[in-house]
């Protein structure tokens, strides 16, 4: 690991009276996938737009591969490839022409532009559709073409703003595969998403953004740990055992009961030992279980825990 590909400090942006970014600090290590997770309106796209020089911040500093977006935007643009939220594909051009155009705009020669475009079409499995107008492409193909456009100059930093929003499952897997390849090649990827599963699958590190602030940051594991660590989950064979089990487990911790699923969940600190003890206890009392195990919180639970206002949690 050699330093950071992107460093953001104290980033602020207001739109009129609306505060979109309220002091964002992020450091994205080179060669990793960094996931920016947050609900709609959290400030993900605003962050991306500042990072890619499309929008000027009100305050704060953003360095991309060492270049400052405010003072040296052209250098930033050379180091960054953007695939925005809406595929920036020209419908009237063919897949090849779309990529050729971007290559020419990077200042490449005609010969080199042709080679780069053909190569990318190959990598993104668009060769068969290369000479068809993009208007006839499926949503997944358009996305892949747009992603390919971000990679024309093989930039060290690639920014993908909600790359799989609105895609079918197969296309989503395709995009994930591409992201994996990118990192294999040493590229730093900043990915925004509202899909927790996506961040969990792809990102080495995740920052959770809400109301223009980073409210949590870490690896997927660290975030899950932060949300309360392990929990013990038991599913009873028969509902009529429930009162007896609740009595037996008293004192173990805060029991969460789902009667319809006949499920009891309880947060525990030393999961393995607790599981063994509980199983011994229930065996001794001849209580039949359908399922028993240790669960880690899903990223969904982490996310809801982090983004739900405290007042709402109390009343719920």
């Amino acid at each position: 690991m050699t330093g950071y590909a992107v460093q953001i400090t104290g980033l602020r942006k207001n739109f009129g009276t609306h505060t979109a970014l309220d002091g964002v600090d992020l450091a994205i290590p080179a060669g990793q996938v960094f996931g920016l997770l947050g609900p709609n309106g959290a400030g993900k796209t605003t962050t991306v737009r500042v990072l890619t020089t499309l929008l000027r911040a009100d305050a704060g500093q953003v360095l991309v591969a060492g270049a400052d977006v405010a003072t040296d935007p052209q250098q930033v643009r050379r180091n960054i490839g953007l695939s925005g939220q809406y595929a920036a594909v020209d419908d009237r051009l063919t897949g090849f022409e779309n990529l050729y155009l971007v290559a020419r705009l990077y200042g490449m020669t005609r010969r080199r532009s042709t080679a780069v475009a053909r190569d990318l079409l190959d990598r993104f499995r668009l060769t068969d559709a290369a000479d068809r107008q993009a208007a006839g492409y499926s949503g997944g193909m358009r996305r892949r073409l747009d992603l390919a456009g971000a990679l024309v100059a093989a930039p060290p930093v690639v920014v993908l703003d909600e790359p799989t929003t609105g895609l079918d499952p197969q296309s989503r897997l395709d995009v994930w595969e591409v992201v994996g390849e990118l990192v294999g090649g040493g590229t730093t990827v900043l990915l925004t998403t509202q899909y927790l599963e996506e961040a969990d699958q792809l990102a080495d590190r995740i920052a959770v953004l809400n109301h223009g602030r980073v409210i949590a940051e870490g690896s997927s594991d660290e975030l899950k740990q932060q949300a309360g660590g392990e929990r013990l989950e038991l599913v009873l064979g028969q509902l009529r055992d429930l009162p007896a089990v609740l009595q037996l487990l008293e004192g173990l911790g805060e029991l969460i009961v789902d009667e319809r699923a006949r499920r009891i969940t309880v947060p525990v600190s030393d999961g393995q030992r607790a599981l063994a003890a509980v199983l011994d206890l229930l065996n001794a009392n001849r209580i039949r279980l359908l399922d028993a195990g240790l669960r880690r919180p899903t990223l969904d639970e982490v996310f809801l825990g982090l983004t739900t206002p405290v007042a709402e949690k109390v009343s719920a």
Partner: protein, 266 residues
């Protein structure tokens, strides 16, 4: 790459893209020629009968040329608004390319649209009895002057496209200014017959200048029944028209480039 050749490559690539797109949307070309065809025949035969017949039909051609290339500014406006809305301008802006290149590419490719509409308009005019009665050199100068004005109007159109908040707004904004701009002129009528202050506005209107200059360069005389002013703009129609185009280009190029830096997808 130095700055000038970079701008040339960038605007060339954008113009290529626009022209490839134009070739694949015949509807847009059709729209750009249909309107001048309609104006040639509507004005020529509907108004022509009351306003001087054959002489009037010859007189209005210069006005229709000026009006045609002015209306083509709307193509620039709508083209830009579309690219903004679709996020294509964002992609361009995230690339390390020259600012002016994207707009220059658009205004250059729209010049091709103007050439096509001028050609079709000329053919309609010829069919209606309009003739170029000057030298080849003057005729070429006439067409070049019209195309320079077309280029200037395209920069106005680009600016309107960049400030419009949506394609819908661009469509109405891009068209609405064209009517007063082209009708308060000597394009189709006598400026002298207008009340003040319209007469003065019309006298100095760059479109009046272009129509007057085209009449001079094509050798088309004024209609006796439609007296034209003989102030400074009319006496120096060619030079004044040239000046207008250059000033408009300078102003709107500056405005558009400044605006482009801020323009974002909506």
């Amino acid at each position: 790459m130095n700055a000038v050749s970079a701008i040339a490559q960038h605007s060339g690539a954008i113009a290529w893209r626009n022209l490839v797109g134009l070739r694949r949307t015949p509807g847009a070309i059709f729209a750009s020629v249909l309107q001048p065809i309609m104006f040639v025949f509507l004005l020529g035969y509907v108004f022509g009968g009351s306003l001087g017949g054959e002489a009037y039909r010859e007189f209005i051609m210069a006005g229709i040329f000026a009006q045609t290339v002015t209306f083509n500014a709307a193509f620039t406006t709508i083209g830009f608004a579309n690219d903004l809305q679709k996020g294509i301008v964002d992609r361009f802006r995230s690339l390390p390319m020259s600012r002016v290149g994207v707009i220059l590419g658009r205004t250059s490719s729209d010049l091709v649209t103007s050439m096509i509409s001028l050609l079709v308009t000329s053919l309609c005019g010829l069919a209606m009895g309009w003739r170029i009665r000057s030298s080849v050199l003057d005729a070429v100068a006439g067409y070049l002057l019209i195309l320079l004005f077309a280029f200037a109007m395209s920069w106005v159109g680009a600016y309107i496209g960049l400030v419009s908040r949506s394609v819908e707004v661009a469509q109405s904004l891009g068209l609405i200014w064209l009517f007063p701009a082209t009708f308060i002129s000597s394009g189709f009528v006598s400026v002298v017959a207008m009340p003040e202050p319209l007469a003065t506005i019309a006298e100095w209107n760059p479109i009046t200048a272009l129509a007057g200059a085209a009449r001079i360069l094509f050798g088309n005389p004024a209609v006796p029944g439609l007296p034209q002013p003989d102030g400074w703009p009319a006496q120096h129609a060619v030079g004044y028209s040239l000046l207008c185009s250059l000033v408009i280009i300078a102003i709107f190029m500056t405005l558009s480039v400044a605006r482009y830096r801020k323009a974002t997808a909506r």
